[in-house]
Amino acid sequence: MELFVNQVLAGIATGAIYACMALAVVMIYQAIDHLNFAQGEMAMFSTFIAWQLIQWGVPYWIAFVLTLAISFAGGIIIERLLFKPLAHAPILTHVAGFIALFAIINSVAGLTWDFTIKQFPSPFGSRPFLGSQLISTHQAGMIGVTLVLLLMLYGFFRFTRIGLAMRAAASLPESARLVGINVGWMIALGWGMASAIGAIAGMLIAPVVFLEPNMMGGILLYGFASAVLGGLSSPFGAVIGGFLVGIFENLVGTYIPGVGNELKLPIALALIVTVLVVKPNGLFGRTVVQRV
């Protein structure tokens, strides 16, 4: 029983990583209506920028804010330079563009900062949280930040006009144009926000997994899986999805005898696919009711 509780707690701690990334995934999905395979690398790059600033002696929080601003601008620039010209290309061509972006960012980061792992500071420290050695103060802080971010996103999309306009631009670009929304800039803004949220995710994840150019490889898949499990249209669902994946994966690894440990990722993914077959919009995704 103690092992079970421990694994659930460890799962929540790991799940916080996934939840963070899933939030960034949902953000970009809201903006461009599909997934960005280079998102993990963008987050990694942002984290390196923060790390570099800190190395240069910039205090953590100033570096944090600067990184957010740089990432936001970077996201917009990438959209304007790379994806706006492809606006009329087929969607699969966009996916190829994401892959190209992935390769470029990874390679440039590797050359600039090499591949040895770097320590990234945590603003929350890493002492036991409330006496539990399984969740550190950093991980608790990470969960806290994720939840705050979630509330802010919810408010943004739900209650602000620009949030509403972004949702409209993503779901029906042509209609959005007909109510006077500049769809192109909404998409760029979405990229900027997704990139900034990715940066937060990266800066929160790096103290746990250590910073290096390949740090996001595995995490992005988990982020996608969490977002899809929770529902791509629902930031709330994505966060819950992250924790569920973290916990479930640990339990599979611990309790399925024989292959459980070696196959915990495939089993977790198989479960997600099963969920999708039953609930194609994810656990918390809004079902689209359509009358013809």
Partner: protein, 337 residues
Amino acid sequence: MSTIQETVAPAAAARVTIRRSVSTIAQIVVLLLLLATPLFVKNFVIFQLTMWLVYAIAIMALNLLTGGSGQFSLGQSAFYALGAYTSAILMEHADVNYVLTLPASALVCFVAGVLFGLPALRLSGVYLALATFALATAMPQLLKLGVFESWTGGVQGLVVTKPDAPFHLPISQDMWLYYFTLLVTLLIYAASVNLLNSRTGRAMMAIRDNEIAASALGVNLPLYKTLAFGISAAFTGIAGALGAIVVQFVAPDGYTIQLAIAIFLGMVVGGVGWLPGSLAGSAFIVFVPNVAENISKGLSGAVFGALLIVVIFVVPHGARQVALYGEALAKKFLKNN
């Protein structure tokens, strides 16, 4: 991501003959080049060309799935691996002749494809992308699994014996494998073309264009979508088997998500849904990395990415777009003469 619509200007009836003759000439030229090139190059170039054909088959198989039925897969490496291992295990543990391992691989992969296609029926777009992505990630872990280690060689992989040319033909192993692979490629190409022109193919394409309308017309959606997955997997499996024989080695690390991504990129660069484009796409994934590393070792990934961006900026519809320009030029030329 499920609807792929590439608009090709509908050719007027009068132009069709010219168009046909242009494409026939092009096909003959390509075929002659394919037949003759090995006679003039070094063995290692023949080996490269063989790998090029192998990946072209895999890309063709993905084209059949995506271009033919509108489904999307980032998990082709899984079927490629399955085919490779089936062939390797049969050859090394059961002494089966390498030629016979190809249909065996095809069969195994067909079954796997159908089994995977069933749950995939309910998924589309990003969901299908994730499911196939998951498959690609899971496959190397399955291959490493301790339970199968006596068969798969576990993390160490399996070494495969390279076949000699039959009938004491006086050609090198490499050249023989090249022509053997070429034959298989042509057979699969012909089969794919026929499939797309058949009732089945038309049903699949109807699904691609509009699922609801297709089902209203009486197309059995589940059957054809599953079938599309099965056939695509079978062809990919053959490519994997050939790859294993040519490389003489299979290991879990050879079939990671990187391979699935490469196959996908090959399809996009070649032009989605255009079978001959598979050759161009395959050339891109086999040769462009070499170009990239020649430009810069430290930044080879970045150079590759940049080249890829150049390609999709210039021809967002891939090699097919180039072919259409070429055809238009050829037509002009023919008319003026």
